[in-house]
Symmetry: C2
């Protein structure tokens, strides 16, 4: 049986190599590629992905997995081999249900939709994007149907990002979370506004870059297995455990963008870099889910990167790099400035207290579209109404409203909720970590991140994709994903800042 | 039959995409990759190349090519389709003769040999590299045997780089060429040495980079379909016709390295960028051979880039960028300095008059090794003896002797002669071009390169790999590759510089 296990690993390694190759092509496209190469690059990626789909649904692989099912049952169910067989089987079953023609067709539609969306956003013209979005909604409903029976049409979409999670679970979590966040924001809105004008001065790019690299080096980002580049939208990508790259963007008239972007992507990267080496070149060399991934990025960005102890250590260095901009801004004023809460239109610029509301309204719209209880044409109005209900403000145009995010243009329905779940998981893990590591604040105040990283490595990173998101969260914290620690965290942090 | 032609093109496009993907992985490895990713990257490239080999030798492709052979006979033999079938059939037949295990084994041996060579060169220790080189010689002889019967064991190796050319043809050319070059060098050695000390001053990198980019922009390098980066050794790579990238290296204490390196690689790139768009994503989207490729790079580097008219235009700009270094160096002194002839040990630094002798001695050694008339152990002595015979100097150690080049460590026997042939072809094409374009010197003196590029596009670039090297050279110039124009060029140029 070990011979068959070897054969399985060889096949999965080949698939991992193809995924890595495709990821390199994608990274290069966003970071380096000359503009005239876009069409050819699309073909190259399509070819690799087609080969990948064919290989990942081959009869040979299916038979091998069936043969190994019995063997895996005799193993410790948490062993690498047992989990590898399980995850590989899950992937095989999912992939096998999708016809290759659907994949080709969907890829073609999304390639077009992305460029139409970009233009539509430029003109703030939803009608321009509407036919594409309608086709993508249809295609996504068709996709969901491949996985019937399901409890909810949204389940199969969600499952691509959060293996094993159901729509109803997330709805339950969000239902508990929403009123608490709305309440907090209302309380804050009655307080005096925090001054953050100093964040909008001229901040030369070179020093911003230097600061970001200094911080993430302290976090533990491993430059022998990674690099940072610039791109239009920040992202993390990995070509296996040993090459995990991040990108950022720098605005020379707004300090937070590059800084928190770099911390955030570093959090993602530390996760991928920390997966056990023996899982490399396998489907387990990945995060448990998007939400667990996001818990890592949000933890380094927010729980650490926007905390008072963090800035107690790093603020003098930042002032040194920007003496004319920050020389007269006190630590306290800076800390309050980067944590100011204010309802805003753009998700990626939202503060910690309002962020999840942006997510919830998107998920509600996605579900209505998938259920068919709302048609695409009515979506912009629904967006604006919900915005007013949740955040008390209304977009003045669709570019800063429903057209702001790229996700729907690549058919990524089911993706948004993972951002909010990630926030919840980050607090839930942090609560557990605080029980096990003494005086975390003191460690952060001295930029001693090793013990934090070691805890995350041991409890989260090293397992890669062995566990489903709910499994690993429960394994670590004793309970499934719950909003309580996050609500507690928000109330405590902003209660202090706003004197509530 | 057009259906089958379509199917063939689809299959060849897929193979072209895989080649491009592998090339992107290779480019990234040399330009961007963090050091800790080397092993994984090796696996990724090996996986892509394995898939490529399997697909390029599939029975399905073989049958399709056989079916299309008759159809192709009815077409104009120079039409794209007829040539595509011909070249695809040639590649298929070659690839099919090589067992997949040989490819895997050879890849493994060369990966190891390259790192051993690098160390051996560092220690100047040939004995360290000897066992690897012995195995590579054996493997290359085994490789040649797959293609029996042949006239000469070296023929199949050469054929990988110069389709259709025979060892005897090249030997004949070199036999005519060698005494002429030796004679010229002897005459020059009796003249006073040219001063080139000003090339060794401190030249800040930024301005070197700027100058290189200015020049190649004028040459016609298309930045919408390319970019320039730094790497340890300069190279050109293409991911299809629409993404052709070059690299260079900059020495801040020696001006010629980056400058002529950039011109050289630009010459390669212009060739790839100029292939007809309808040949894209096919095996015809390539150069005719390495020699024809090298003719393009050497033309822009030497025939143009080291010419008096070129510097008449560009020298004032160079002086402007380096006023303290070149402000007091006259155009004439600069021109003589960059064209100084002096026997030297290192091929890549050799001048135009001595360069080919470096090549000839390598080819003679390669042939002796492949024939078995010399064993690897005796190669360093043979190297040094030939060096004295051809160039009148002897390396004091193996690092600056037989270990200087990377080529043998990747098993690239048969590659070197293409460099010398490239020099010959560049002069042969130039002679023809000079008949057809009036006052080329005047054009160069005004940096009007459009007419030169247009001539090369029409006569060379646009055809891609449709013709074999001897075919295309004859088609353009009326004769096969001959050393005469090159000898004439050398005698004329250096006769003037050295007043012979």
């Amino acid at each position: 049986m070990t011979e068959k296990m070897k054969l399985l690993k060889a096949k999965l390694s080949e698939l991992a190599d193809l995924r890595a190759a495709s990821a390199v092509l994608g990274w290069d496209q966003l970071v380096n590629m000359p503009e005239g190469a876009a069409v050819d690059r699309g073909e190259q990626i399509a070819t690799i992905e087609k080969i990948q789909h064919i290989k990942s649904t081959s009869d040979e692989l299916g038979v091998l997995l069936d043969d190994l099912a019995e063997y895996a049952k005799q193993l410790d169910p948490d062993s690498d081999d047992a989990r590898l067989v399980k995850v590989a089987k899950r992937d095989f079953d999912k992939q096998s249900k999708i016809p290759t023609e659907f994949i080709t067709n969907f890829a073609r539609e999304t390639t077009v939709a992305q460029s139409v969306w970009e233009k539509a956003k430029g003109f703030s013209d939803f009608a321009m994007f509407q036919p594409n979005l309608e086709r993508l909604v249809d295609l996504r409903r068709e996709y969901a149907d491949f996985f019937k029976p399901w409890d909810h049409v949204y389940d199969p979409l969600l499952d691509d990002f959060e293996p094993g999670m159901k729509t109803s679970e997330i709805q339950e979590i969000f239902t508990a979370l929403r009123p608490k966040q709305v309440e907090l924001i209302k309380a804050i809105s009655e307080k005096e506004k925090v001054d953050r004008s100093f964040l909008y001065l001229n901040y030369p790019e070179k020093n911003q870059w230097e600061f970001g690299e200094e911080v993430i080096t302290k976090f533990g980002y491993d430059w022998k297995h990674g690099r940072q580049d610039k791109s239009a939208h920040p992202f993390t990508t990995s070509f296996g455990i040993n090459d995990v790259r991040i990108t950022t963007r720098v605005k020379d008239d707004y300090l937070p963008t590059a800084m928190f972007g770099t911390f955030h992507e570093c959090g993602h990267a530390l996760y991928e870099m920390g997966v056990a080496q023996n899982l490399n070149r396998s489907p387990l060399a990945d995060g448990a889910s998007m939400a667990v991934h996001e818990s890592q990025s949000r933890m380094w960005e927010n729980l650490i990167g926007r905390s008072k102890p963090f800035w107690t250590y790093f603020y003098p260095r930042l002032q040194e790099l920007f003496p004319s901009q920050l020389g007269n801004v006190s630590l306290d004023k800076f800390y309050r400035g980067i944590n100011a809460v204010e309802p805003s239109l753009i998700r990626v610029e939202a503060d910690e207290a309002t962020y999840n509301l942006h997510i919830m309204l998107r998920m509600e719209l996605e579900i209505a579209l998938m259920e068919g209880s709302m048609v695409v044409k009515d979506a912009p109005n629904a967006w604006n109404q919900k915005f007013e209900e949740y955040l008390g403000i209304v977009p003045t145009n669709n570019a800063e409203g429903i057209l702001q995010d790229v996700h729907w243009s690549f058919g990524g329905f089911g993706y948004f909720p993972t951002y909010a779940l990630g926030n919840l998981v980050s607090s839930q893990l942090w609560e557990k970590m605080s029980e096990e590591i003494k005086d975390i604040d003191g460690k952060i105040e001295n930029a001693e991140f090793e013990v934090i990283l070691a805890w995350l490595r041991e409890n989260v990173h090293v397992h890669g994709a062995k566990y489903e998101p709910q499994e690993i969260v429960k394994k670590i914290t004793g309970s499934k994903i719950t909003p309580k620690p996050f609500i507690k965290y928000l109330n405590h942090k902003f209660g202090e800042i706003y004197d509530l």
